[in-house]
Every structure is written in structure tokens, then in C-alpha cells.
Symmetry: C2
Subunit: 600 residues, 2 copies
């Protein structure tokens, strides 16, 4: 098997043919970069991912972290892998040169990171969580907090976590009960319990910086009463050396279906002694800060789902090419050789479906990453704000669509391998189990659907939605130049027109106070919106493939034909399936809403 993590030809297609990464080098922030520096970063990522992350992916699964004497013990392969990641600079890929970073566009950072996500989701979590925690301090922390906590994270000495969930408060963060009392010296004393804290304990770093949501004594009820605190495992002295152990106690480990290599912890704060915390930013603004970091985190989670799907797709593709089994329906001569299973139409269907799902979602994830660059580096404030609005709108799709459909891809990969796919001797069943987390964490599927329909499509008078519609119409217009794409373009146009009408109707309901009814079938809305967006991205890829074919390079011909066929699959098999969902939304069908508890 030549490539196991992702197709480098497809990555090059995305970066240089679809998303024009080189244009970013025209911007001041990226002026030092070129396609050569981009590719060098990618090559480094691939090499470390292949050599240090992928080899212990199964071992991570078989030997999950153990709770020994109050600490979490990992397999020894994790640390050298993470260390190599740090040494190569990927933790700070997007930071400025002056801050020790590579000053890469987010697009390139995501492209590099994708290799690690494909190779080993669990080990990759530790730096991923650290990046998220570091970004919070960087954006909202005081200079002193940056000096004391952020700099050691950038240096790779401290790792981070996000400590949000409590036993009785998962999706409903406004109900957290962890308290933070002012100690009188500007610090706080925390008391409470958190669960499902990934990376909450491990031996990979000198210290762990927990970003903890808690309530101050005078907090108003609800989401506007939540504050954000830095709670280090070890206090940090003024000279940067480690001080005494803070009272953050590892109460236990959760044992998960998959993603087993990442510790999932229960943490107790302040049960036995003082648990010292430091308020980040202003009181009661904790959730707002989290939300401002959410686009980035959710792109990361969405890309994680994509890459597990991608790994399964490549594995099952290779298997289908190698594995002989049976004969074609019209070739029943039992003395003839068995054919490779890729010859069977139904196996092709399962492979093409996977390709359409993972390459469609991969494109969207990178598109969102490039949009994130726009929010930071476009010339005018208005342009940056416009980009941010579009990114805000797309984020629920970027997170949820791959979590649903690249998980489905993993299920198909198992099916292609048959009985072998069901054993732990092959990697595909683990990919499924690892990926099953993604529709749950970082905002469940249900939460994403409420975010999209209840908030995002109507924000700022629907400005982002109008922007998206304009972009999709633009792609459809460009597709008109290619007669071969007519049958791909039309289903998208039909779906888009109907989605637009349904959106207006549902927003009308919401504005007239029929909130429960208007949001009742939001899961269907999320699916249709997602299919529209992915359909758009596939039409965009199809245009680029036609342009690529026109250049006439024989070496690229198969690649572009594959793109066109996958686009055709998605736009003619998947996109039209949404009309039935739209009919249910149009009818304000209340079958589910009207189901009574006593009737179950």
C-alpha cells in the first residue's frame, strides 16, 4: 500500500487547484512562504505521522491508560511521538516567527495536522487539546498568565485540557456547579467535579494546565454566569519553576468504546485542600471566550472525523484491490479465477460512497481552514468580518457532517473487509470505534442542529446565509461552462432553491414564537444543509477536475476521472435524497414532536 494516511495527490489538488494556497503567500503574514515551504511542512508531518504515530495506533487501543497510584500511565510509544511533533514545530505551526512559530496559514497547519489525525487519533489528542488551551490564554489571558502558563505550553513543557463537562451538565453547560471563591489575593479557590476531561492526566509534560469553567459566588444564573479559570496541576513559581501540587485529583479514568489511547478522566477540584485557580479575562465571560475559540476547535474535530474516514477508505480500497473473492454475475464458470472484490459493483458502490464522503468532507474542512485564515489576514476589517460570518455559519456543518458521514464511511470499510473487518487484526473496526466519539463531543449532533437553525442562519439578518447562497450560485454559474457538469449542477440548484424556501418558512415560525415546532425537525435541516454544502464543494471539485483534464496531462487523467465520478455519485445519488427530508420540514410534520412519553 503506497499511501495509508491520505492521498498526497488529493491534498495537492485541494491546496493548489481548489483552494489556491499559493495566493496566501501574497499576504504580508505569509510572505516568507511558498509552495516549497508548504510542501516541506507537509512532508515532515507525513514522515513523523507514518513513523511515530501510526505504528502504535492499535497498541493505544489495546493498552488503554491505566490508573496507577493516582496517576494515568500510558504506553511508552506516546511520548516520543508527541515529542517529535513538538520538536518539528507543529504545535505552533500558525504562531508568528517571533513567538517561535512557523507562521503558516491555518490551511497548511490543518493539512499537516490531518496526517496525525489519520495515523493515530488518540495520541494526536494531547497536542490538539494543548493547542486549544493555549489559544484561550493567548486571546484572553493577562500578560502575566501568558508568561507563566502560555510560554511553557508553546515551549512544549506544559500541556493543556478543556474542563467543561460535569456529571449532571454535559450539553447544558449553564448548569455547571463547580464554584470559584475569591481568595482575597486575586486568586480563586475552586471546588467541584468534572468528567470526561480528555488528557486530564498523563506523564507527557511537566505540568498540565486545565482551562476550567466555574461559577463565582455572585454569578447570575445561566450561561452568563460562567467564568473561565486556569487551574494548573502544579502551581508555577515566579521564576517559572514548578511549585507545589495543586488540589486537582484524578478521581478515575473512563473506559471508552474507542479512542482509548486518550485518557478520559474524572477530576476533583478542591476536595482535600486548596485548589488554586486564576480568572481568565473578565468574570462571567467564560462561555463567551469558549465560543470565540469554537470555530477552530470544531474544524479540528470535524477534520478528525474526516481523517478516520479517510484512513478506513484507503485501507478498504487497498484490500479490495488485493482480495480475490467470487466471480461477476455474468461469469459463473467455477473453474475461472476469482476476481478482486473491487470488481464487484456493490463493493465499488461502497468504495465510491466512502470516497465521496471523505473527499467531500476533507475539501470542506480545508475550505473552512482557509476561511479562518481570511478572518485573520484579509486586508479590510469588513472583509475579515464577512469571512467570520461565513465561517460561523459553516462551523456546525464542518463539525457534524463528517461526524455522521465519515463514520458511515468507516462502517462501509468494515463491510468491505467482511469477517476480517470485524476482527481486531485489521484496523478498520478501530477507526469506527474511534470515530463514534465525534458526533458526541464538542457539541452533539442535536446541539449542532439547534445552533444552525436556531442561531446561525438568521444571525445578522441572514447575512452569512446570503453570502453562502451567492457563493454556491457562483459555483453553479461557473459549472455552466462545462456541458458535462449539467447533470451534476441541476440537482444542486434544485435542492438549493427548495432549502432556501424552507429556511424562510422555518425562520418565520421561529420569529412568530413557534419555537418548539420550528426546531422540532432540526436534525433533518442539518442533514439537508450539510448535503447542500458538500454538494457545492463537490461541484467545485468537479469544475477543477474538468479544468485539470483540459490540460491533458495523461498522468492525471485517472485522478480527475475519479473526482468526476465521485462528484456524480454525490450529486445524483445523495443530494436528491434530501427532497424527502425537505417535504417533512415543509409540512412542519409533528410525528416526533407529538410522540408522548407514555406512548413509548
Amino acid at each position: 500500500m503506497s499511501e495509508t494516511l491520505l492521498s498526497s495527490r488529493n491534498l495537492a489538488f485541494e491546496l493548489y487547484e481548489v483552494l489556491d494556497a499559493e495566493a496566501l503567500t501574497q499576504r504580508e503574514r505569509f510572505a516568507e512562504h511558498s509552495r516549497e515551504t508548504f510542501d516541506a511542512a507537509i512532508d515532515t508531518a507525513r514522515s513523523i505521522a507514518e513513523n511515530l504515530f501510526a505504528p502504535h495506533n492499535r497498541k493505544n487501543d489495546e493498552h488503554e491508560p491505566e490508573y496507577v497510584d493516582g496517576a494515568a500511565v500510558l504506553i511508552p510509544e506516546v511520548k516520543p511521538a508527541v515529542d517529535a511533533f513538538l520538536e518539528a514545530g507543529f504545535l505552533n505551526a500558525t504562531r508568528e516567527f517571533d513567538a517561535g512559530g512557523m507562521q503558516l496559514p491555518n490551511l497548511l497547519s490543518q493539512a499537516c495536522f490531518a496526517h496525525f489525525q489519520s495515523a493515530n487519533a488518540a495520541t494526536t489528542s494531547y497536542p490538539f487539546l494543548t493547542m486549544g488551551a493555549a489559544n484561550l490564554i493567548e486571546n484572553f489571558g493577562s500578560d502575566e498568565q501568558k508568561q507563566r502558563f502560555l510560554q511553557p505550553m508553546i515551549d512544549g513543557r506544559f500541556f493543556g485540557t478543556m474542563a467543561l463537562t460535569e456529571p449532571h451538565a454535559g450539553s447544558s453547560l449553564s448548569d455547571i456547579r463547580t464554584r470559584a471563591e475569591p481568595a482575597g489575593d486575586g486568586t480563586y479557590r475552586l471546588k467541584g467535579n468534572k468528567i470526561f476531561i480528555s488528557g486530564g492526566d498523563h506523564p507527557l509534560s511537566e505540568n498540565i494546565v486545565h482551562m476550567v469553567l466555574a461559577k463565582l459566588p455572585d454569578a447570575p444564573a445561566g450561561v452568563k454566569g460562567i467564568s473561565l479559570f486556569i487551574v494548573p496541576k502544579f502551581l508555577v513559581n515566579d521564576d517559572g519553576s514548578l511549585g507545589k501540587r495543586n488540589d486537582v485529583v484524578l478521581a478515575g479514568l473512563f473506559h471508552k468504546m474507542g479512542w482509548r489511547g486518550t485518557t478520559s478522566t474524572a477530576l476533583n477540584f478542591g476536595d482535600n485542600a486548596d485548589c488554586v485557580g486564576y480568572l481568565v479575562g473578565k468574570p462571567h465571560h467564560g462561555l463567551a471566550y469558549m465560543f470565540q475559540m469554537m470555530n477552530e476547535a470544531r474544524i479540528g474535530v470535524g477534520m478528525g472525523a474526516v481523517m478516520l474516514g479517510y484512513a478506513g477508505y484507503l485501507y478498504s480500497l487497498d484490500y479490495a484491490r488485493q482480495r480475490p473473492q467470487g466471480r461477476l454475475p455474468d461469469g459463473k464458470d467455477p473453474t475461472s479465477s476469482q476476481v478482486a472484490i473491487i470488481e464487484h459493483a456493490d463493493v465499488r458502490r461502497m468504495l465510491l460512497t466512502q470516497k465521496a464522503y471523505v473527499e467531500g468532507a476533507f475539501d470542506l474542512g480545508l475550505y473552512a481552514a482557509r476561511l479562518f485564515d481570511d478572518t485573520l489576514t484579509l486586508a479590510s476589517e469588513e472583509e475579515r468580518r464577512t469571512a467570520l460570518e461565513l465561517l460561523d455559519l459553516l462551523t456546525p456543518i464542518v463539525k457534524s457532517w463528517p461526524s455522521e458521514f465519515c463514520l458511515k464511511a468507516n462502517e462501509l470499510a468494515i463491510q468491505i473487509l467482511g469477517g476480517h473487518g470485524y476482527t481486531r487484526d485489521y484496523p478498520v473496526e478501530q477507526y469506527y470505534r474511534d470515530n463514534r466519539l465525534n458526533p458526541i463531543h464538542e457539541g452533539t449532533h442535536g446541539i449542532q442542529s439547534l445552533d444552525l437553525l436556531g442561531r446561525k442562519v438568521s444571525m445578522n439578518g441572514g447575512a452569512a446565509l446570503k453570502q453562502l447562497l451567492k457563493l454556491i450560485h457562483g459555483t453553479c454559474q461557473r459549472a455552466e461552462a462545462h456541458d458535462s457538469l449539467t447533470s451534476l449542477r441541476q440537482p444542486l440548484e434544485q435542492l438549493l432553491a427548495r432549502l432556501q424556501a424552507v429556511t424562510l418558512a422555518l425562520l418565520g415560525d421561529l420569529m412568530s414564537g413557534k419555537v418548539n415546532q420550528g426546531l422540532a425537525n432540526s436534525a433533518l435541516y442539518l442533514k439537508v444543509f450539510g448535503h447542500t454544502v458538500i454538494g457545492w464543494r463537490w461541484l467545485e471539485q468537479a469544475i477543477r477536475a474538468e479544468e485539470g483534464l483540459a490540460k491533458g496531462n495523461p498522468a492525471d487523467r485517472d485522478f480527475y476521472q475519479g473526482k468526476l465520478q465521485a462528484a456524480r455519485y454525490f450529486l445524483t445519488w445523495e443530494v436528491p435524497s434530501c427532497h424527502h427530508d425537505l417535504a417533512i420540514l415543509e409540512a412542519r410534520d409533528d410525528t416526533c414532536l407529538g410522540m408522548q412519553e407514555a406512548w413509548f
Copy 2:
């Protein structure tokens, strides 16, 4: 939680309101039975399943069988559970009184067995496999083989397996390489390797009787050259005592994604010494014998998939009733109490979807079991043949539909439990992993789709299909008596008409030699056919619910309302989604068939 395995109210509804089990007691074979004896058998099954099977279901998963000194070692809880199952007579539930059985209808045997499948899929496999092996010998073995091997199986002293798959021959059984040489004394010497043999070794019985497919030296190529052999782990002396160890060697255990409590073995035959086998029936008829037993085996597998879905549904339903989280969209006051998550529309959707899938498939499984009784006990041969044709037609659906949609139900159960559902502290993730086997074994999904479209719908001039259409039309006609069911009946009628037309068109293709094209999208055909059948069964249940409501018993009101709402969900949300699949079939779309290997 009151009921964890299945709803006894729903079982009573199926047996006595939908499928009229009591009418079976009019038949001579079941004349000794009554509703009371039926219910007594069910109560016994429930009690043993709850008390001896369910408690070690998770332990089975956590402590999978180990390979120790050439043998498979199980956790100690398995044997007492299986022994209780045997002592209560469930292995021989359908056998005649004279043969030590309970002479129960297959319908009742399946209803009893369902409790074990829900409680513990892995432990239940051992008797299930034994029943299959015993049925083969009973139907095709010689009197001497029955005396020597079948009787000890009936007595619970010997267990059985089905040894079909080989490393290079899974779906394509015609390519098996295991050889059987005549020894000159009427016995044979086997040589070959089998994989994925469930129950291939264990300490639960004195002996294990492997039913092995192998080829004789003069075997013609292909499926018509396969013979069936009895290959016991220990030879059996003329007086019934155990003789010397046969050369069937446990070469290793497979480690699976789920269903871990059932040993999955690699077995080597005749590698080191003589491996003695006994030909069952005529040479080269092995596969035909297997096929004749297949309806029963596939009903069992389908019901296994249903019951894992059922267990997950009941667990997530109970959880959703207990677990407070968040507030309704129109009740955002953060000081108000959190609501139980069953109040959220999207959680109701996930529960109602599960209910529609598992109760729809449960009904179909029991319907098939009753049909199986008809094939054996209807008065005239023609009636029995007609019943068998219908059962043959429905079998691919009975096996595959629950394997796909009750697995989907398990995925929804995980989602309802959120982060908790993803941990091994709750049972729902195991249900998913256990159920993931079902679309693979006993004929993959792809094989079922080819069996349905390539063989079953056209057999005997489409006689079975015509019979099914007549039955569905009959149900639609009876539904006309209820105005409330108009909106449920019409979607089914519309789908049925279009499915009929597509079927004729596709059969036309197949008959005109366009075999590869006609079968290319058989997976879609299987889905649409399955949804039609389940839609029919839901309409049938809805009629019974309306009849039940009309009786006016207040205690039953909620139950029947739930049935009507689930029927409404399935017939208006799910059934119409098939029109898009039919459009693809109608167009003879070749997107997947036309995808070239080089394009991936």
C-alpha cells in the same frame, strides 16, 4: 427499569393480536398447547435470560475466550447459563414430545429464544449453533449418524458448529479447498483449514460435532462439488462413549470487535494425523443441504439483530426518562429545573426511530417464524409449498433488514446516552459492537441483495412475489376501513406500485442477459424491498392497534397510541425516502458500476 429484554406487552400483541398464535393450537401437532402453555414457556425463558444470561453479558465482552494449551477457556458464568437453557428444554423446543421436545410452534420457540438473544448474544450462540448442526443431521443424516451424534446433541451432551469459511473462501463457498478422501471403510479423511468457526472450541460439552463442508476427490468444480461431513472433536464408540481425539486442532482464536464471548476459531483438519469424517447424505449435495436449512438459520440471525436493537432501545428509553439535561427551546429560564431528555424533540425522534425499526423488524421475524410453522403444519402439500415460497422470498429481508436498521438503532441508543453511551460503563456501545457482526455473517448484505433480486423474486415465475403483493394489497384493503390510516396506507401503496414496475424492468434486463447491469444496484433494491415489507408489517400493526383501541380498555390506550405513532413514523418518514432509490434503479444508473479501479 421494569423490562430490559423486550416488552412483554408488545410480545403479547404480536403473538395474540397480530399473528394469532392461538390458532396454531387448532393444528394437530400443537393440539396439546394453549395460550397458557405458550406463556409458561415465555415466562421460563424470560426468567433464565434475566437471571443467568444478562448478568454476564458485559463480562463476556471484557473477558473474551482465551487460548490456553490448545483449548479455548471461557468465563465460568457461561456454562451454568447454557445448562439452565438446556434443562428448561429450549434446545428442543420445537421437537416432538416423543423425541424429548416441547413440540412448540417455531413462532413460540423464536419468541422464547428472543429473550436470550437480547440478554446475551454471545452465550446464546452456543445453543443456537448446536440447534443448527442438529437440524442438519436430523434432516439429512443416516439413522446411525442420528443415533451416534444427534441424540447426544438433543441430550445436551454434544454441541455443534457450522464449518464453512476458509481463508480464501468466505462469500464464495464454491472455492473451498478442504478435501475429504474416502478411507475405504465408509469413512473419510479430511484435510484443510477453516476460519471464523464460532463455537469451534469450548469446555461447555463433552464433545463438539463440526458440520464441515469439503470436496471429494471426484468433485465437480463449483457449488455442485461440495459435500457435507460430520467431523467430531472426539470419535464416538459404538456404545456411545467417547473414543480417541480426532485431528481437529484449534489453531487460534479470532479477536473480534464485539460478540466477544463466542469463540471464533481457526480449525485445522488432518494436519498431524487422521481426521475422520462421516459423509452426510449424498456426495456433492452439501451446499444444497445447507441452503435447505438456511431460512431457519437466517431467521435466527435476523432475530438476533432485532434483539440487540431492542435491548438498546429499551435501555436508551429508560435513560431518556431519567436523565435531566437542558430546557426546551421555548423555556430558556436558567433557574428552572432541567427537563428529562425525553422531552427534547430530537431525542424523541431518536427513540421513535428505534421503536419503528426494532418493533417493525421484531414483527417481521415472528411473522417469518409463523410462516415456517406453516411450511411444516399446514394441511395440504400445496399450502405448505406456497408458504415455503413466501418464506424463501422474505428470508433475505428477515436476515438483512434488521442487520442494517437495528444496528442503526444501536447507534441512536449510543447517541441518546451521549458521553456515557460511549463508555463501557453502559451497555449500549456493546450492543452496537455485537450487532455489527450481523450484516457480515450468514450471507453478507451484498449476498442477500443478489439472492433477492437475482433469484428469489423471479423463482417459480414470480409466484412468491405475486403472493406477497396480494398479501400487502389485502392489508391495504383492510386499512381502508380506518380513515385514520389513510395517510399511512397511501405511501405504502405508492411505493409498492413503483417497486412492482421496477422489479419487472430489472427482471427484463436479467432475462435479456444484461446481468451485471441489472444487478449493479441490487443494494438499493434490497433496501426498497425491505422498507416495503416493513411498511406492510407496520400497517398491519396499525390496523391491530386501531382494533385494540376500539375495544376501549383504558390500560391499553397508551400502548396502541404508541403503535400508531411508530407506524406513522415509518410510513411517512421512512417509506417515501425510497422513491429516490427507485429513481436510480429505474434509470439503470451506472455511476457505481462504471467507476473504474484506476480512478479511485
